[in-house]
Every structure is written in structure tokens, then in C-alpha cells.
């Protein structure tokens, strides 16, 4: 046996996203955000998207392009304070925003990727984020059910990939990427380097290939990926 080759072009891979799709985007700030795939999604112009991402990036970067282009209907996120456009669109009712505690967003995505229906937690139970959520008692302690999140498509940024879709991330660019790479019906990974089979050691793989559907080689490291000078 040999492992299948999943390499694809950026345009073909992103074309699988339909209007109204739910799309997960990896990244925490700049590191790990799939800027190249997002650029292609902006170029193709699918609308009515539900975006699941830790944050809304900053002005002129990543999610901000999708917002500016009117492609986003709904955003599930933890913090959008660095993107004034996201805050303004939320306040104007132009996008719907659902906030989640950061680690709970991570767990909801992971639960989706693990084929679970949800998790039970006491996080944020005493805040307004608890509104409308089911409460249950587990072993005598009050808890809240947080439902699993899944997506039609996940867009992932990896430092390294092999052609089967095994992925490796650099430093804090890992963040939500391995979780989202488990939680979508279709997983598209952009990689700075695409290696042949055997190019990644089995012990050093961060996302195993079976989770990944398409591997796209990036054209290069564009300005968006670089150091932000504030």
C-alpha cells in the first residue's frame, strides 16, 4: 500500500466552499491564520458565510478582507477587539457575533472533531455567555452543556505538509489549527512547504493525514504573514 496524494490547487480546493457555508479558520492573531486561502476565498466571493475563528485579525488582514467584502453573515469568536471594522459591523447589526470563552471555543471545536455532541463545563456559568445554555448536574456539581462545533470546511495554515496531508505547525502558529483540522467535513491545508511522503517523521506529525482532504502549496510568504510593526 501507499498513502494517497491529496495535493490540489488553491482555486480548486477553495471552490468547494459554497454560499452560506460554515468555515473554520485557524490562527490566533497572525500566526497560523491561512491568509492565502482567505485571499482566494475573497477572490471567489462566496457569501453568507458563518466564520469560526479565535479573532477577527486586524485591519487589512485575513478575516478583515472577508468582512470588507460583505461575505460574512455570522462570526463565532472569542475576541474581536483588534478589528474596529468587526466591532462596528457587529454594533450596526451587519454581522451576527457569538462570543465564546477561548478555551471553550477550542473544546467545542475539538468536540466536533472528536464526534462528540458536546461537553459539560462550569466555565462562564455565572456570566451572560451562559444565557440560553442547558444546565445539568454532573456528580453533584452544576454544569452547562456547550454544544460541539463542526464546519463544512476548515482552512488551515501549516508550516509543513506531506502530500498525504500530515501537517506540522511552527511555534504558536499551532493554536486552533489542529483542532479545526479535525472538525470540518472538508479540510483544506495551505503549507509553506509541501514534502513528499516520508518528509515528516511519524512522531513529529501534529495533524495526522486522515483528517485532511486537500493540501495546497503556498505561492510564498506574503506581507500578511510577516512581523507586525505596531
Amino acid at each position: 500500500m501507499r498513502l494517497p496524494d491529496k495535493t490540489s490547487t488553491m482555486s480548486e480546493a477553495v471552490a468547494h466552499i459554497t454560499d452560506g457555508a460554515t468555515v473554520m479558520l485557524g490562527g490566533f492573531g497572525v500566526p497560523g491564520t491561512p491568509f492565502s486561502l482567505i485571499r482566494e476565498l475573497v477572490r471567489q466571493g462566496q457569501t453568507g458565510l458563518t466564520i469560526i475563528k479565535n479573532d477577527a485579525n486586524e485591519k487589512g488582514m485575513g478575516v478583515d478582507h472577508l468582512l470588507a467584502n460583505g461575505q460574512v453573515a455570522r462570526l463565532i469568536t472569542t475576541h474581536i477587539g483588534l478589528n474596529p471594522r468587526a466591532v462596528a459591523m457587529m454594533n450596526a447589526g451587519e454581522i451576527e457575533v457569538e462570543f465564546c470563552a477561548q478555551g471553550i471555543l477550542a473544546e467545542r471545536v475539538r468536540a466536533g472533531g472528536a464526534g462528540l455532541a458536546g461537553i459539560v463545563t462550569d466555565i462562564a456559568m455565572e456570566t451572560e455567555l451562559a444565557n440560553g445554555k442547558m444546565r445539568i448536574e454532573v456528580k453533584g456539581a452544576a454544569g452547562m452543556v456547550e454544544t460541539a462545533l463542526t464546519a463544512d470546511v476548515a482552512l488551515i495554515h501549516a508550516a509543513r505538509a506531506d502530500v498525504f496531508g500530515n501537517l506540522g505547525y511552527d511555534a504558536t502558529a499551532r493554536n486552533f489549527n489542529p483542532l479545526m483540522a479535525m472538525a470540518a467535513g472538508r479540510v483544506i491545508a495551505e503549507a509553506e512547504t509541501v514534502l513528499p511522503l516520508g518528509g515528516l517523521e511519524p512522531d513529529a506529525v501534529h495533524t495526522p493525514g486522515p483528517f485532511v482532504d486537500h493540501v495546497v502549496a503556498m505561492a510564498g510568504i506574503s506581507e500578511e504573514y510577516e512581523i507586525v510593526r505596531r
Binding site: M1, G115, G209, F211
Partner: protein
């Protein structure tokens, strides 16, 4: 039977072969066939089984056999391994069976009072693989049919089996119950029907041999 079962594996699939009989299926795949074999103890991309003198003491499959890697293999923990199974990334699993019901219910983990070692990973494989294929003898050692109207033993999962390979036949589990698809050489429809404790539908036309 294992040669025929190997043809169930389509190019590009992620496949988990249960313990025992199903693992022999892999011997019938071509060296360059594009498939990813998964084992629930934490490996995607299983390579050939190794003799003790060539084995890695830390590299086994779920059945305890010493296996190897292929270019592109990955190791992961048990949570990630079953995440893959439960979230629908496992295209096919092949399992053994004590009983299969015409509804697709599978019993393969417990015989009350006689055999109850625990289900291991079998429940999740049966319940969540996209396609579940059973490989089994058609009857048990006492001649009792394993394909039945209903399971008499505790079930592993309900409505999960898609197809059964036996020494006598290939049988699909459909909404209408068992349907004969292929016959082993030298076996007649009447033979199979007599060895099956549930109605067995026979499609029109000639039944292929395997």
C-alpha cells in the same frame, strides 16, 4: 473470502481492519494500492507485519501484532485515534461477529457468563465507521447460523452492518433485510438460505461466484 473482501477497499480510503480474520485481507492488496490503514492504538499508515527479530517493541497494532510504518505514517494518542473514527474519517471497517441481525445489528463482544473481556474499541468502530463489513463463518462451531432475525447476544451496535462476507456467500444488509449478492464456489442459494436464520432475498438473474 479475504481475497474477495479486499476488493471492498476503494482507492483513497481510510480503513480499520479488526483483530483476527480481517487483517489477512491486507495481503491481497497491491504494493502500490492507495489506501491508509488505521489502527486504534494510534497509527495511520500501517506497514507490513514484522517477525520478532525485526520488530520495534513500541510499534504494535490493536491486536498486538508487531507492525511497521510506511512513508507518510503518523503516530497519535488514543483520543485523536478515536476522534478520527467518531467524526467520520474512517471510510471502512472490517469486523468479526458472533451474530448479525437482518436489521444490521451486530453482536461481537460478549457472551454472558462465558466471554466478557470488554468491548475495547469495537463499539466505536461498529457504530461510526462509514461502512461496516463483517467477515465471519456462516455458522458457528455447533452449526448454529450467525445471520439471524435478531441478535440473541448483547449487541455491539445497532443498524450498523452494511455487508457480510462468509465462507458461503456475500450478503448485503438492506432495509428489506438480507440480500444475497455472491456465492462461494460449490454453494447453492438453498445451502445459504438453509444456513441463515432469517429470510434471504435472491435478486433476479445469475448470482456471481467468488
Amino acid at each position: 473470502m479475504t481475497a474477495r473482501a479486499a476488493r471492498e477497499i476503494a482507492p483513497g480510503m481510510v480503513v480499520n481492519l479488526g483483530i483476527g480474520l480481517p487483517t489477512k485481507v491486507v495481503d491481497h492488496l497491491a504494493a502500490d494500492f492507495p489506501v491508509c490503514l488505521h489502527t486504534e492504538n494510534g497509527l495511520s499508515g500501517i506497514g507490513p507485519t514484522l517477525a520478532p527479530e525485526h520488530a520495534d517493541r513500541n510499534l504494535i497494532d490493536a491486536g498486538g501484532a508487531y507492525v511497521s510504518t510506511v512513508p507518510g505514517s503518523a503516530f497519535f494518542d488514543s483520543a485523536v485515534s478515536f476522534a478520527l473514527v467518531r467524526s467520520g474519517r474512517l471510510d471502512l471497517t472490517m469486523l468479526g461477529a458472533f451474530e448479525v441481525a437482518e436489521t444490521g445489528d451486530l453482536a461481537n463482544w460478549k457472551i454472558p457468563g462465558r466471554f466478557s473481556p470488554g468491548a475495547g474499541g469495537g463499539i466505536e468502530l461498529a457504530q461510526k465507521a462509514r461502512r461496516v463489513v463483517v467477515l465471519t463463518t456462516h455458522v458457528d462451531r455447533d452449526g448454529v447460523p450467525k445471520l439471524r432475525r435478531a441478535c440473541t447476544l448483547p449487541v455491539t451496535a445497532r443498524r450498523c452492518v452494511d455487508r457480510v462476507f462468509t465462507d458461503m456467500a456475500v450478503i448485503d444488509v438492506t432495509r428489506a433485510g438480507f440480500v444475497l449478492r455472491e456465492l462461494a464456489e460449490g454453494v447453492s442459494f438453498a445451502d445459504v438460505a438453509a444456513a441463515t436464520d432469517a429470510p434471504l432475498a435472491r435478486p433476479k438473474g445469475e448470482i456471481p461466484r467468488f
